[in-house]
Amino acid sequence: MSVSTRTPRAGADKAPARGSGPKTAQRFRLGEPGTAWLFMTPALVLLAGMLLYPIFYTLWVSFSDFDLALFEPVGWVGWKNYEMVLRDPGFLESLKVTGIYLVIALPLQMILGFAIAFLLNVEWRGRGALRALFLIPMVVAPVVAGGVWRMLLDPLWGVVNYTFGLVGIGPVEWIGDPTLAMVSMILIDTWRWTPFVVLIAAAGIMALPGDVYEAAKSDGAGRWQTLWRITLPLLVPVMAAAFVVRWLGAVKMFDIALAATRGGPGNATNVVNLYIYEKGFRSLEFGSASSMATIVLIITIVLTYFLFSISRRLENRW
């Protein structure tokens, strides 16, 4: 495509590969950087205004002793908190647990979400209602969702084990067994957040220009071909955005783990944000909690940047 010469940011030009209108935009670009900053200002002011002090405070606490009497950091202790945190087996274990959870849950939710979005996309009267109903798992408060799932999965009175029992399986310790607890946590998280992927994917599919399909059809392309060669490439920006948003949400997940498994048994489902939360809010160890938060922040930024480059590369490839 010749368009890539127009701006250095090829990503910005990845408009859907439709037709080829006259490229008259050139002259309107004059003075654009200024306008662009104008567009960015509200978001930047809000974020900077709200976040700079908290981040500065967290960094400060992570290098200090924390005085609970003032709820303020006092005295500079250098890397002491960090050294303690890096020697803390629970913290390292929680990073590992988070990694396992992310590696399994995210792809699962993305695939399931896009597949269901296609399924829900069939035109019929109930389509809108199904899509609206599909949002519900996200809306149920985590505490309630965790509790309901605990009830469903309970070996004694739970419906799931009751059903398994009818065919002679079980009772299965869904939450009591370390491995199955992870499975259960991923299951609940997937139940809860796949609807988000569906919501965004459906909107992305909706926004696809219809004439592309007509063109494809007149070219005699089959369904799979249309899907692979036209639909999916056009959906890449939306897929990438949904993935990044889900990734950032999943990294911070702790409410479901807290409500469903309490991070247990042992540390089997103790995701890192739950670990930090409990260090801070249960053990009142704000110094270590802040150091952990800083470490997690840095790891997340690095990984986010990595994902971000991949997604930009993907966007540009098609």
Binding site: G21, P33, A43, A115, A202, L248, M292
Partner: protein, 289 residues
């Protein structure tokens, strides 16, 4: 599963396609029901007496009671807290949508030095663990005398909604045909005019979906609401957490399910009300018209 969805885009009315269509619709309904099962279960226990909830084997039908709804409606101050939740969630979602979609538009369509870095920074701001934000935010709010006020909670929520909006809307704007705003600008619109008059209406599906997502996230947020409010601005999730962690009586699953059900209702009603935007992409209409 995926292949059968393709007829949605065309409209070949052959017998096989129709069969496929019916199969797809059935599958769609079944998948939705599977996802809704825990919710149906929640609703069912909200009508049960506490002693009928934990039975072996599970009781499908038991004595129906409305007590769970009635007793905790007053006890947990559901109505005022629901109103608070609506104000906070709508306020935060709308502010985030305006600020976030403008930034998303700039990132998707405008030439800007450092756009990548800026975009990355905006995303990174979402990577801060919540526990690290909530304590300093409380300290600042207290300093300014702003604890227990809507604006404080709204602004706190805006910080975690904006990055999401920026990223989602950036993607949706990218999938819009570029000719749209070019045409508008030839008509004499400024960038800003083109954005509000052309771009926004054309990406309504994406916007409504993102808005719903924002409302949901703000709707169920617990940690910030709990720390930043005391009485006047307390939201529903705090009430729910209170019932869930009842250390005195225990076994409040009936009331919890009832309040959980009540919480879900407004969002579902809202989603049903705006469902036509969830379905009908307006982009096509605009370009063709």
């Amino acid at each position: 599963m995926v292949s059968t969805a393709a007829p949605a885009f065309g409209s070949r009315k052959t017998g096989r396609a129709r069969l496929g269509r019916i199969a797809t619709i059935t599958a769609a309904i079944l998948v939705t029901l599977a996802f809704l099962y825990p919710v149906i279960f929640m609703i069912s226990i909200s009508f049960k007496l506490p002693k009928d909830i934990f039975t072996v084997p599970p009781k499908w039908i038991s004595e129906i009671t409305f007590d769970n709804y009635v007793s905790y409606f007053h006890q947990a101050r559901i109505l005022p807290r629901m109103i608070n939740t609506i104000i906070v969630a709508m306020g935060a979602a709308i502010i985030s949508m305006v600020a976030g979609s403008m930034a998303g538009y700039a990132l998707s369509r405008m030439r800007m030095r450092g756009a990548g870095v800026m975009g990355g920074l905006i995303l990174a701001s979402r990577a801060v663990p919540p526990i690290a934000l909530v304590v300093p935010m409380f300290l600042v709010a207290r300093k300014l005398g702003l604890t227990d006020q809507y604006i404080t909670v709204i602004l706190a929520y805006v910080t975690f909604l904006v990055p999401y909006v920026v990223w989602l809307m950036r993607a949706f704007f990218k999938s819009l045909p570029k000719e749209l705003e070019e045409a508008a600008m030839i008509d004499g619109c400024s960038r800003i005019g083109a954005f509000f008059r052309i771009i926004v209406p054309c990406s309504l599906t994406g916007m409504v979906s993102t808005l719903i997502f924002c409302i949901i996230l703000a709707w169920e947020e617990l940690l910030f609401a709990l720390i930043l409010t005391n009485d006047k601005a307390v939201t529903i999730p705090v009430a729910i957490a209170g019932i869930a962690a009842d250390t005195e009586k225990g076994g409040l699953w009936g009331p919890l399910a009832a309040v959980g059900t009540l919480t879900v209702l407004p969002v579902v009603i809202f989603a049903l009300a705006v469902q036509k935007y969830l379905i009908k992409g307006l982009a096509d209409g605009a370009t063709k018209g």
